[in-house]
């Protein structure tokens, strides 16, 4: 008989159980009541869920429990999603929890997921829809509970940090029936005022139900339709709402929203101081540069041109003057030479020279030159002019021609 028996080792049977259970219960939803809850210092959570007839060991590792929206406690009715795992060394199975929420909230969770999917499909979360926030808002509108800590925190920060910014508060219900519609109406009221640069909507922390107004469609659409940039600041850093996704910017908390919304006055002062320095430096550079340009220009031919031209013209003029003087001189000396020639010629013709050579000139008494023997009557006196001196003579008689 024993030869027919199929015997498995404990490890083998456990491995088969593990394989079957883990593949069959890889993603299950379980509802039950928490007991023996322990949040270990490692960050992991250990507890059991039970109902009247059974208990199930659970572990929720740190990586998963960080996104919990509530604090689990013994006796709490919860919905859990996870997978069954078998721990072979102890032969135990447990539920490895991935999601956990208070049982009553299951329908809200489904509604959240459905709306998120729908609005995403419509493009309401698209980056292209995001409006840029003003760098220096003058007037910030806030839609929130007038009595909440969130408003107090925001006002404190804005007063200290950015006293240059004016604030207008639109009180609104932020939880319970009609809250989503009231916040939506608040956005529209602020939008209808012409001088609001930025709107902050939000509230302080609370349960998922408390924050639920910020997951409603009416509010999501009001945010999407608003022409003024909207910042959404709901609850704590871990709370992410539909409003956050539609808004132009999600602030992790209301205090963070106040910080993000405004440039601090000290930063602005610094910016102005910096710009002033830049301005002075820029002018100084500009002046230095202009000086340099001027120096450069002075060195350039184009600017020298007129001066050079004057110099050149003056030179030309000097040359011409010189030439004129020279020509004049030439002309005069030529004329003078010619004149001397004439003088010589003239001196040759001077009758006194001829007289010196032995000729005489006879003048009648009336002073006219006697050219013919007939010009003087016989017995008439006349004057003879010699090379040196003259004397009176008398025509005695006519003589026959000697030639």
């Amino acid at each position: 008989m024993s030869g027919n028996r199929t015997t498995l080792t404990v490890s083998e049977i456990t491995a088969q159980i593990k394989g079957q259970i883990e593949s069959q219960f890889s993603r299950v939803w379980v509802r039950g009541e928490i007991s023996n809850f322990k949040h270990h210092s490692s960050g992991h959570m250990y507890f059991t869920v039970k109902d009247v007839g059974a208990e199930l060991r659970c572990v929720m590792f740190r990586g998963f429990n960080q996104s919990l929206h509530f604090k689990p406690e013994d006796g709490m009715d919860v919905m859990i999603q996870g997978k069954i795992t078998v721990y072979e060394p102890r032969g135990q199975y447990q539920l490895m929890v991935q999601l956990m929420e208070p049982a009553g909230i299951g329908t809200l969770y489904l509604a959240f997921e459905a709306l998120k999917k729908q609005l995403m499909g419509e493009g309401l979360f698209d980056e292209s829809k995001k409006q840029p926030l003003p760098a220096y808002p003058k007037r910030i509108g806030i839609v929130t509970s007038p009595t909440g800590a969130a408003l107090r925190d925001m006002l404190n920060i804005l007063k200290r940090r950015a006293p240059q910014v004016d604030i207008i508060i639109r009180p609104a219900l932020v939880q319970g029936d009609g809250a989503a519609a009231d916040v939506a109406a608040g956005i529209q009221a602020l939008e209808s005022m012409s001088n609001i640069d930025l709107i902050i909507i939000g509230r302080g922390g609370g349960s998922l139900e408390d924050l639920w107004a910020f997951n409603e469609e009416i509010l999501a659409r009001a945010i999407g339709d608003c022409s003024i940039p909207i910042m959404s600041a709901v609850g704590h850093e871990t709370d992410v709402t539909i409003s956050d996704m539609v808004a132009d910017l999600r602030a992790p908390t209301p205090s963070a929203a106040a910080e993000l919304a405004s440039t601090s006055i000290s930063e602005l002062s610094q910016t102005i101081r910096h710009q002033k320095n830049q301005l002075h430096r820029a002018l100084e550079n500009r002046l230095n540069q202009l000086w340099q340009e001027l120096d450069h220009l002075v060195d350039r031919q184009s600017l020298q041109h007129p001066r050079m031209m004057i110099m050149r013209n003056r030179e030309k003029l000097d040359n011409i003057m010189h030439q004129i003087n020279f020509s004049m001189h030439q002309f005069l000396s030529m004329k003078s030479t010619k004149l001397k020639g004439f003088e010589k010629e003239l001196s040759v013709l001077n009758p006194s020279d001829i007289l010196h050579r032995g000729y005489s000139i006879a003048f009648s008494d009336d002073g006219s030159i006697i050219r013919h023997a007939d010009d003087v009557n016989t017995g008439e006196t006349f004057v003879l002019k010699t090379g040196s001196g003259r004397f009176s003579a008398k025509k005695k008689k006519m003589l026959p021609n000697s030639d």
């Binding site: 006002l155 240059q164 604030i167 508060i169 710009q275 002033k276 301005l279 002018l283």
Partner: protein, 76 residues
């Protein structure tokens, strides 16, 4: 309380940056540069005094009995 003159801070600061850029741009004449500088200095003074005299005004938007909206100073 005298209402503070509304200053478009962003526009004024933008203009100031523009002036600095023009001055750095090497294209302006000396006269234009000096005019720009003067405008820039005036702007920094305006901006500075705007911050120095900043006094936050907080108002609440209230719905009157007849449903009309009005602004009232906030009593924090």
């Amino acid at each position: 309380m005298a209402k503070q003159k509304i200053l478009d801070f962003e526009a004024a600061l933008g203009r100031l940056e523009e002036i600095v850029a023009s001055l750095e741009g090497e294209n302006e004449s000396l006269e234009k540069s000096l005019t720009l500088f003067e405008e820039g200095v005036k702007l920094t003074e305006t901006l500075r005094s705007h911050l120095d005299t900043a006094e936050q005004r907080i108002q609440v938007l209230m719905k009157d009995a007849d449903g009309k909206m009005s602004e009232k100073d906030f009593e924090g």
